[in-house]
Symmetry: C2
Subunit: 101 residues, 2 copies
DNA sequence: TTCATACTTCGACATATTTCGATATATAAA
DNA sequence: TTTATATATCGAAATATGTCGAAGTATGAA
């Protein structure tokens, strides 16, 4: 395994090493359909404000955590009007599973 | 998932978030038989000195990394004379795999 | 245009991590 | 007992991370 691969994985692990971020990712992974997401009820539940409230963190902190998860390649975000569409990169999660097998 | 579980997992992820530590764990996981370890050739290969040399780190740094991996519950260490017997906690690795499934 | 909503960026501060060299400890060999 | 080997601990320095509040940006509604 080369240096780039190792560093890619360690970046993903670092993103998951913060309890708030891990919670966010697990929550997203458990409630977002794999194909994409454009539901109605989940929209509100996945707002940064809601995560901030649940985790007892400021909204700016949650924004920072989303950025970290995105930069680590664990999720995708795109804007659609007022909403931010989030999708989990399940391939990345699977690559971690394989690594530890 | 409760707070303790989340923190246990984030501690494991943190342990894996350093490239040197990740390398160490993967190397150990790939060369140590699951039942335990008391071979001859691998003894030398698994010495801290050898890891230090391979990773370009000081021995004290590698010792610190071993401690982190142990405290995170990812491996076990016990002394047997001059040697340190290391075994990877494969159950912990499996628990991570399940978490991300 | 003005307002409300959702998210990002900035600047700052406190805390944590990484790494080292030096030193200490434990064990076995000479 | 002295020496060699393997690992652990200590103290310090540089860097990174987590967190906040305040201000900025983008979008849609009134």
């Amino acid at each position: 395994m080369d240096t780039d691969e190792i560093e890619k994985f360690s970046r993903m692990f670092k993103a998951l090493s913060n309890p708030g971020r891990l919670r966010i990712l697990l929550e997203l992974a458990s409630c977002i359909p794999k194909e994409g997401f454009s539901g109605t009820q989940q929209e509100q539940e996945n707002s940064q404000q809601n995560f901030a409230q649940c985790l007892g963190l400021a909204q700016s902190t949650v924004s920072h955590h989303f950025k970290e998860l995105r930069q680590a390649g664990l999720l995708y975000m795109r804007r659609d009007g007022q909403k931010t569409i989030i999708s989990v990169n399940f391939e990345a999660l699977e690559s971690i599973q394989k690594l530890l097998k």
